[in-house]
Amino acid sequence: MAEYYRLFLAQARGQAQYRASFWFDVAASTGFGVIDLLGVLVVFHASGSLGGFTQAEGLLIAALAGAGFALADLVVGSVERIRNYVRTGLFDAVLLRPLGALGQLIAMDFAPRRAGRAVLCAALIPVTAVGAGVQWTPVRLLVAVLAPLCGAVLFGAIFVATATVAFWWIDSGEFANSFTYGGRDFSTWPATIYGGVFRRVFAYGFGFAFAGYYPALILLGRPDPLGGPPWLAWLSPLVAAVAAVVAGLFWRRGVRQYRSTGS
């Protein structure tokens, strides 16, 4: 691990030379977080409630999901640059060092300048929880802390898996956004608003309901309006773990693909 930490420090030192740019990025990241929450506020304001959830409850879902996404974006978000690495041959240099490829990429691209949104959303979790009238118990406290972390693992897995597509499809361009930013938008809202197959695929297939919706149900002490069994809401850690394993396996297939085709 020490080597990866060194790589990260080197990257951070490099970035620190562009001080104005750094603070600009922090501000922009916060700005995008604010914009997303404003969007949630506007829609709730116009409709009163959404999918059976009040504005306060909806904001709690958005804060939990937003914190998970932002944390993942902070740590592995730049893995989408793999396209450029493959195109420029930088990926070769990564494979020539005596360290794991994914670990190197994460350490090299870890972007503290994107912390704005993560800090904003994390700070909003207790605020929105109080606003939604959460009755605190030690278990719920633990859920409030763990939920963004599980969400981060889930979104991190989505970032890695969609970026891996570039090993086969170098011009995949915006394709990954459907699942990364699309997944973020999906999990910002109560899962009850979606219909039919679309909900089944994204809420359960990709697991996005476990980033904000189900942890919020636990905090609020509400049964699942979708009729899921009570234990379903507690599966977030398992869903995150499965997603991470699947993404890891897919990544390894991707690297093998790269090795058989080159750039």
């Binding site: 600009f24 700005g31 304001h45 116009a46 409709s47 361009g173 915006e174 999906f186 679309f198």
Partner: protein, 265 residues
Amino acid sequence: MPPLTVYWALVRAGFRRYSTYRQATVAGATTNVMFGFLRTYGMFAAAAAAGGVLAGYDRPRLATFVWVSQGMLATINIWGPPEYAERVRTGDAVTDLLRPVHPVWQLLAVDLGRAGFALLTRFVAPVVVGALAFGLYAPARWSTYPAFALSLVLALLVTFGCRHALFCSVHWLLDVRGPMTAWVLFSTLLSGMVFPLWILPEPLPALVVYGMPFASMVQAPMDVLVERGDPLRLLLTQAAWAAVALPAAVLIQRRGERKMVIQGG
């Protein structure tokens, strides 16, 4: 002024250039479809909670608003890469001055060609998916169709003018990352691509729709299409913003050129 055939050739070149980006077109259309579903369900839920109609939009109008606006995003190229700024930064833009065609009209012609290709692909794909999945609103008046076509062209002109004016800031700032980020922030919230602007709390809607250019890029054509509000007023608003944005782009371009010629970049 060069003959119209020159501009026509530029339009065709723009069309051809973008028609070679097939894979990016497929990837982009996929994203539009994904966000089409997300936004439709969000708007339907909001309408259901508000009693079936949200700020004057019923379900077919909301579905149309969402899916057609997803198609429009690529057509007006609201978030496209700042190519001109990149050309200035690398110094390639100097060669544009050597051509006997005004740089802004030259870029506009190419952009129209690009929009033509986007209209056939990126616009059609989400509209078809939306129509199959949710059904779309059929305009009641025949005059809505030509009005929408005109509104679409005006949206394209406003977007092009605003974006080019923004790109020209590269002549002074050397890097357009700041202005571009601000552009994405504002255009996300205030163009109508995330939600119809009429659901904003009073007195914001009128202020945003008429007092800022963003609504003329997405919201106005959608309102014309779903026949919400007076189409003439919407078209006049768009025309007014086009009449501001394009001359502003030409003016700032001229200033920037002078700076480039005098200071060499």
